[in-house]
Symmetry: C2
Subunit: 473 residues, 2 copies
Amino acid sequence: MYDRMQELSIQNMEKIHDAAMDLLKNTGVSFNEEEALKIFKANGHRVKGATVFFEESDIQKALKTAPRRFTVHARNPEKNVEIGEDDFVFLPGYGAPFVMDVQGNQRQATMEDYDNFCKLIQTSPYINMNGWMMVEPADMPHETVHLDLNLSNMLLCDKPFMGSPVSRQGALDGIEMAGILWGGKKNIMDKTVSVSLINSLSPLQFADEMIGSLIELARHNQACVVASLIMAGGSGPVTLDGVLALQNAEILAGITLAQLVRPGAPVIYGSTSSAMDMKTGALSIGAPELSKNIHLVAQMARFYNLPSRSGGGLTDALCADAQAGVESALALSTAARSGINFILHSCGILGSYIAMSFEKFLVDEEACGMILNMLKPLALTDDSIDIDVIKEVGIGGQYLTHPKTFKLCRTEFFMPTLMSRKNPDAWAKDGKKHINQIAEDKVAQRLASYEKPDIDPEIEKQLTQYVEKRKNP
Amino acid sequence: MYDRMQELSIQNMEKIHDAAMDLLKNTGVSFNEEEALKIFKANGHRVKGATVFFEESDIQKALKTAPRRFTVHARNPEKNVEIGEDDFVFLPGYGAPFVMDVQGNQRQATMEDYDNFCKLIQTSPYINMNGWMMVEPADMPHETVHLDLNLSNMLLCDKPFMGSPVSRQGALDGIEMAGILWGGKKNIMDKTVSVSLINSLSPLQFADEMIGSLIELARHNQACVVASLIMAGGSGPVTLDGVLALQNAEILAGITLAQLVRPGAPVIYGSTSSAMDMKTGALSIGAPELSKNIHLVAQMARFYNLPSRSGGGLTDALCADAQAGVESALALSTAARSGINFILHSCGILGSYIAMSFEKFLVDEEACGMILNMLKPLALTDDSIDIDVIKEVGIGGQYLTHPKTFKLCRTEFFMPTLMSRKNPDAWAKDGKKHINQIAEDKVAQRLASYEKPDIDPEIEKQLTQYVEKRKNP
């Protein structure tokens, strides 16, 4: 396929691989977590303090057992998703402390906001999985909020969900709760029902909470995204070339640990590295370097036969304006076209992760639908081309009233639910609204239309009791 | 290269080709122009009334002489452009009758607006060619406005430009004026200095003005885009599959005429076909079907070894909001990635071609810059990866104050001139502006910074006199 974006040659990818191997062998990666160090030592790794060194054979062994694709089961089995190869999923934004409204007022996020995002995800035609910490509720105790987020994910939405990677105990809570949801922990022992986000602490470190989580999640066959989010020029080299090498070392180190814990544990090769804004020293996720990295990460993951993760609808804009539209669409469409399997942050993020916007969530969601349509191939059969109709209409005719047009007009083309196709008069009559103002109304409609998916009341009770008990031991 | 958008197989492309051949042989194409019919007859085509029929051998003969790439010369030779294969150009919007301001007020376009767009193009770091009829000035007499547009193109901007296809005489005026600009018509006889847009009148027709223009332009070695803009379900089949076949027939028919007039005349395979909005019956250029068609047109053009043309920053939105950003970015990036060579409408269009917006022009222009950055490959050399720096910084270090970061921080990453990377406080302090409001100020700055490019006063005088004489014969 012709593509003006860079195609990495085998030599290019081997160069990035070799650079990572050099770093893993000679500089090592710090794992500040006791059990991890024990596992590495037991498997013959050189360990010095918290620094673990890797031979290429360690990495190759891990790559042999890591699956190239896997299923994430939903409690509604019709909503199971496949991750890997041609199959991919859209997920919402992750980790925003604030909510931004249409007027540009930024406020701390609440548990109610979190629940409302769960409801938007449940009613979304395009978002395939529930996220985790779409917003960070400021009105809940920090130590136990992960339990509330898990509970909302499980009760308000019957799609597959992301798990809690806040700490070893946090991960275990998620596993226990998933066990309850599936009617017993034994039912999920060989079944992946969650995907959790394990970030490195660049350069070349992992925090103990992340590693404790990774160990428990892998042990229980729950999927982990192992991801770097390097700010090029800050927490990593000032060239994307260097970033590719550095993040490759970090990601492969984390994946190797997961495979040592449980060979075959599902893992995802992840990155949302991007450029530092050289004027302010802040991370820019609206930068074109983000998209470039996404495109190259997809190729590196395929080089290793691993599923990949990137960001999607990301922007530095603080309101859902044309900048937000451009930046988000570029990264989102790059991820989808270039072959990313797990597209986190597909919807809602504003201002370099600082805030989620309900209105932008809907705009981005519609972009997901448009992109899915763009990727849908034409059949190009005799029937779909239908030369007889073209001959019949002939020179200078019209197709509007042709029976075939009537037959297909409701199904053939993408039907927007948000994007406006009004003419100037109709638009003026409707108050010359920008799409974020139209989205504001639609958010309210969507939330009003939400219906809580059925769940066995006994299971709901047990889940609620688990959370209560953990909060008040 | 892995790409989730559809890759047409040779069989797919042959199917589209064969369908077009069937139409050209059995239904024919109407050329309502005397000389065209004479040329076709002289070359052995079956002609019935205004309908011309084509054998496959006629098409193959034309494809043998049509160049796969060509240079368009600018009066400033540093601004010459290459069109074809990997080389491509961004051009502004085309044909809008109105100008839309930031407040959503739509007004008829004026000659002053046209000139201001010429000035934005002249000062643009990313727009490679001046367009034609970026807006249609309502304050100029219809019969002679093409002369004024040509004059502005030639005097206000020293980039290569689009030519006037309004009629045979209009095309000849453009050629005469280009002759003056190059110091004598003999100087452009074998030199392409303009590209003109020849649209079919779907289905299967060409208007006489367009064909008169095409004949004169091809005769004088000036490039023609031969393009279909089918509204699927209206002026063409309700499936994109059928649209591909129909537009292929129309485009190849026009290209064949150009090659009969002058074998080797530069031509471009063009389409901005898109879907009809099934609720309103209006053309939708924000539809994902537009991008899908762009991607497939690029492949069909490569199948024929021809340069390709599509639309770019197109939207149905009537203001430069998030919808405009998403829709424009999707089509623009698809065109650039998928290999289109002549990306018309890259900047400024709103509301399904109804209006140009100066502010959206700047937003789209920045998107062009971002896309160019995305396409720029990494070097992936030892020096660009620089493993020694990564080892030196080591575990948990920082790169911000590293000498290499200082060295590259001003050149390594894309530096936006419009997109905001402000933090929430700075953004609030600055009035919480949307990007179109920021763009409004920048438009004024850009126009103020414009300098008319030097031109031989004698040539300027002759050009002005030519226009005056044609207006008052």
